[in-house]
Amino acid sequence: MTDAAVFQARGIGKSYPGVRANDDVSFTVAPGEIHALLGENGAGKSTLVKMIYGLVRPDEGDMVLNGQPHQPADPRAARAAGVAMVFQHFSLFDALTVAENIALGMENPPPRRELSARIAQVSQDFGLPLNPARRVVTLSAGERQRVEIIRCLLQNPRLLIMDEPTSVLTPQEAELLFATLRKLAGHGTAILYISHKLEEIRTHCDRATILRHGRVVDSCDPREHSARTLAAMMVGGEMRPIDRSGRQAGEVLLQVKGLSLPAPTAEGTALKSVALTLRAGEILGIGGVAGNGQDELLAALSGETRSAPGSILLEGADMSRLGPEARRTAGLLAAPEDRLGHAAVPDFSLTDNTLLTAGARKQLVRKGLIDRSAARAFAEAVIRAFDVRTPGPGTAAKALSGGNLQKFVIGREVMQAPRVLVVNQPTWGVDAGAAAAVRQSLLDLAGQGAGVIVISQDLDEILELSDRFCALNEGRLSAPVPTDGLTLDQIGLMLGGAHGMEVAHL
């Protein structure tokens, strides 16, 4: 063991067409250190580790591994130099056993029996219980990850890279993983840990290098900072405290009464006499575990499914028999949960994607004719106002990161100045900065006198945004309760079902 750094990056830069993925990135990983690479989606973390692992070559700068220049031509060269990587998505063959899968990933696999013995040895040493003879198809996500980790450990790596390893794990499995990493670090292996989960980095990492827009913005000991400061470093000045002020509940905008619909598919959920009232300037939060009728409720409000006459009224006008176009014209807008394929057409440009919902209200379509320059101007306006990071409005929707596309989708609806906007999971899978921007835009919209319905599984989000809260459970919507003074425990009871609702009424 030496005190020299295991790995050092100096002035690494990498550009892709239209994007500067990494710019002058330098950092050092010491032996036995669990080093976090922290950043939003698209901050350049993946590009950086791909360069270390030989999948991508840097445009400028150099890397040093164990005192030797590190310029891997391919992952094999990187592995030979002592770099191992566990990917977010596993590359295992379901039909083969653990030992066979591990042998497949090795340069010179030893005889099967010796390999099994070594697997058993490593899994015992590092507390990774795993039976080499089991078929991968029978393993849980956590166990599959162990296969990948053991495959890496058999190479005795000096530097182990883990790409968002806990995103597929249960909390218990995650704890086990950290115990293993800690043991590994105790043996002197350096670990580069990629994540945007602030809490686990705070509890388990020794150092954190924070990336933003491809640059290193800070390097710190994460244990000495709060999650909030780390988030602020990660997203820069964009992390504003949510501003809920300036809103007052006005006249009733949307009324839903006795909305019942059969389940659209065998897996779907039937809606059972859903009723709600939404006032101007108000945000109504609808919580619940996914699959309890969220998609169906959004479809019924957006007009994708029609309901019984008189079940949905917008400012007194019956919407229930109208299609999505007519409802948008009337001022009832929606943004579904699934960005790619539902809220946006993946293969279409952002310009074309404005035509999906904004044709009538923004006059992008007149008498059936598309005004492409108006559509382009509107797309540009959304991109500007919502800080959508993209080379331009001609970019295909699927080329955007999840957070950026979500900002575009929400922005497209918000900028049409709806009377009522219904959103489902507005910040699902979106990084902290984009999530804050999306939430603020919903609050601002309500501040301007629109009514907003936020359907979300994220209870913190609901408590942060909404004035009143309802729980959606097996297609039934509870009576609303004001969120002021409501605790997570009470919400949990409401989500639990009928009994919970009675408790909440008290």
């Binding site: 999505p324 929606a334 539902h342 057409v345 993946p346 293969d347 074309d352 035509l355 059936g368 295909a396």
Partner: protein, 358 residues
């Protein structure tokens, strides 16, 4: 090892290059086939692709180009709209036959009147007949979820039986000395679809094809309906969110392609074919599927692809006459063309990379 890496965006270059490569590969493979069969490959290829346009007898064959291309382009333009939306009308041949019958029925009913309205009425009747035949799979799909692919295809065989029945029964020429087949419309001026400019082969069907190409281009690129069709083809849920009713779209696409195929059938029966026989359907409806894909489902591409496929028809006939090539040559060529096109199509969606295996 050769690996296929998916492209994030379909390559614009390969979009245009694949049809060209498919044609080149078809010529190569066809030449090879002819060589194996003992023919001179170079002269066979020249006979099929060159001589119809520029050979010694080109004066006779050149007008045929437009005659054959017009129905192909007319039908393929309609099919392409549906294919863009993921609605697969495989039965244009049947809609073509029914259009020919309903259009001819107007003429035969009016015979021997000579009013101006007869020919326009025939065109409308032909389009309506094809539309109605296309609506059968549309309604069955909308009401019962039946596959429009199977239903439209099966209806081709029904249409063929109806054509045979008409030729031997209700539409049989009363002055035809008992021969099967209707009156020859070419000899009935008010109902005929003559060559408009001598020596070009251009009849009203050619005019209709050109107008259709322009109209479909406008629909698909400028009109919101075309936008919805394209959206429905690649992201059906997004299209529904935008306000598209899938049932309406199914009816629109099958109805439109049926009407255009029916019109093509009418122009053919009132012009080059002349009469309803049991062999009214000559395969244009099926070949148009190749035209639509070869033309990348784009109106301009379909225009070019229609001309090319028409060339293989004429060239194939010429090769039969002059080189004694078998009659199946044309079908082999058309089959190979579609095969190579679909094969090379991989390149628009994937990159081929070479990588040393780990």
């Amino acid at each position: 090892m050769i690996r296929l890496v998916p492209r994030t965006e379909a390559s614009a270059f390969w979009q245009i290059a694949t049809p060209v490569m498919a044609v080149a590969a078809t010529m190569l493979a066809g030449g090879l086939l002819f060589a194996i069969m003992g023919y001179d490959p170079v002269s066979a290829i020249r006979t099929i692709f060159w001589d119809p346009l520029f050979g010694p007898a080109a004066g006779y064959s050149r007008p045929q180009l437009l005659v054959k291309a017009a129905p192909l382009i007319l039908i393929a333009s309609g099919l392409a709209v549906g294919f863009r939306a993921g609605i697969w009308n495989i039965g244009a041949e049947g809609q073509y036959i029914i259009g020919a019958i309903t259009g001819a029925a107007v003429a035969l009913a009016a015979y021997p009147a000579s009013e101006m309205w007869i020919f326009p009425a025939m065109v409308i009747a032909g389009a309506l007949g094809g539309w109605a035949w296309g609506m059968i799979p549309a309604l069955l799909r909308n009401w019962f979820g039946a596959s429009e692919i199977l239903v439209s295809l099966m209806l081709v065989y029904v249409a063929q039986r109806i054509a045979a029945w008409m030729a031997f029964g209700p539409m049989k020429n009363p002055e035809g000395f008992g021969m099967p087949g209707s009156r020859n419309l070419q000899q009935y001026p008010a109902a005929s679809n003559p060559e408009l400019i001598a020596g070009t082969g251009a009849h009203w069907g050619v005019v209709a094809a050109v107008i259709t190409v322009l109209a479909i281009w406008f629909l698909m690129s400028r009109h919101i309906r075309g936008f919805h069709i394209r959206a429905a083809g690649t992201a059906p849920r997004a299209a529904r969110f935008a306000g598209v009713k899938p049932q309406t779209l199914v009816a629109f696409c099958l109805g439109l392609s049926g009407a255009l195929a029916g019109m093509a059938g009418l122009f053919e029966v009132a012009g080059p074919a002349g009469q309803i026989t049991d062999k009214v359907g000559v395969g244009y409806g099926f070949t148009a599927i190749i035209v639509a894909f070869l033309g990348r489902l784009h109106p301009v591409g379909i225009l070019l692809a229609g001309l090319l496929l028409a060339l293989t028809y004429i060239g194939g006939e010429l090769a039969q006459l002059t080189l004694n090539l078998p009659a199946a040559t044309v079908q082999v060529f058309q089959g190979m063309l579609l095969f190579f096109l679909l094969g090379f199509d991989l390149l628009t969606r994937y990159r081929i990379t070479r990588r040393v295996t780990a």
